[in-house]
């Protein structure tokens, strides 16, 4: 895979986030790696908000 193709997609994604006015406050933990017999509730990041 070409790095530039991935970067092109990523740069577009960041530009869209800025246009939307995304305002996350920091880096967030990833969800706990679950077992198949549980559903880890995906939490809305408390320190982040979307416009």
């Amino acid at each position: 895979m070409d790095k530039n193709d991935i970067l092109k997609r990523a740069n577009k994604d960041i530009a869209k986030a800025k246009a939307r006015g995304d305002n996350p406050k920091g880096i967030t933990d990833r969800d706990p790696y679950p077992t198949s017999n549980q559903t880890v509730k995906t939490k809305k990041k408390p320190n982040s908000q979307r416009a």
């Binding site: 990523a10 969800d31 706990p32």
Partner: protein, 257 residues
């Protein structure tokens, strides 16, 4: 199985209980910590031993991790600066008590659930059930929990390198799973061109890796989990991993060159 080292004149010996590749199941704390630090660029916190967690799980993680180190270079792992710790508090919530582990990207920490990591056979049986349910990648075993978490750290390293001087972009990319999304979508796009009949949708391609690779995170497609599951699939299965995992792994490698 490990080797019990006895000094042979003039020949450098591996530490006691350390096989040429990987760790013996009964390797002691010092051997495990030295191995993880020197071979894998990772710290194993004292809490792992304070909480009497099973060293066999770390021993069984060593082989797939070493495979990734050999492909990416130890400098990549040194740069990630991962520390493995035991944390009861992170797994107290009703939904999290049965989870295996969790990554805190900011502190480069992989916290393992002591209620899972205290016994190799428990986690082995649990992963066996998960794999048979199609929830985690085919062939994955107890040792691959750590590998999955390393996948998250690889994604974050890509972000850190690209946005080292741009805090806003770093945080936005983390929040939106920008790099895992770009890699997964590019992987699907290329596979669609190369093998049109393989997957009819991107969702199907994600799901081919595992059920969890097609889950939700933060209310949207969990690209970050898809990437981490692909890393676990590749580390365990190599060229026999799912085509989507192989493509994602190629993408990760190209971003870290």
């Amino acid at each position: 199985m490990g080797t019990t080292g006895t000094a042979t004149q003039g020949i450098a010996q591996a530490p006691v209980n350390q096989t040429p590749q990987g760790l013996a199941d009964d390797a002691d704390q010092a051997t495990v910590q030295a191995y993880y630090k020197n071979k894998l660029g990772m710290d194993v916190g004292g809490s792992y031993y304070r909480d009497n967690l099973d060293p066999k799980i770390l021993a069984r993680s060593a082989e797939p991790l070493e495979k990734l180190v050999n492909e990416l270079g130890k400098d990549v792992f040194d740069e990630m600066g991962i520390r493995i710790v035991s944390s009861q508090s992170q797994f107290m919530g009703q939904k999290a008590t049965r989870a295996y582990a969790q990554t805190s990207l900011q502190s480069h920490t992989i916290a393992v659930n002591p209620n899972k990591f205290n016994d190799y056979n428990t986690i082995k049986a649990s992963m066996h059930t998960d794999v048979h349910a199609g929830y985690h990648p085919t062939g994955c075993k107890a040792g691959d929990v750590i590998v999955h978490e390393v996948g998250h750290n690889l994604e974050f390293l890509i972000n850190r390198r690209i946005n080292a001087n741009n805090r806003l972009n770093l945080v936005l990319a983390d929040y939106n799973q920008t790099y895992s999304k770009a890699i997964v979508q590019q992987a699907y796009s290329e596979l669609k061109k190369e093998q049109p009949s393989l997957y009819s949708t991107e969702k199907q391609a994600r799901k081919s890796i595992s059920g969890y690779a097609d889950s939700l995170w933060n209310g949207t497609v969990a690209y970050t989990e898809c990437l981490a599951e692909a890393v676990a699939d590749y580390a365990r299965n190599g060229q026999n991993a799912k085509p989507m995992s192989l493509k994602i792994w190629q993408g990760i490698k190209s971003m870290l060159k």
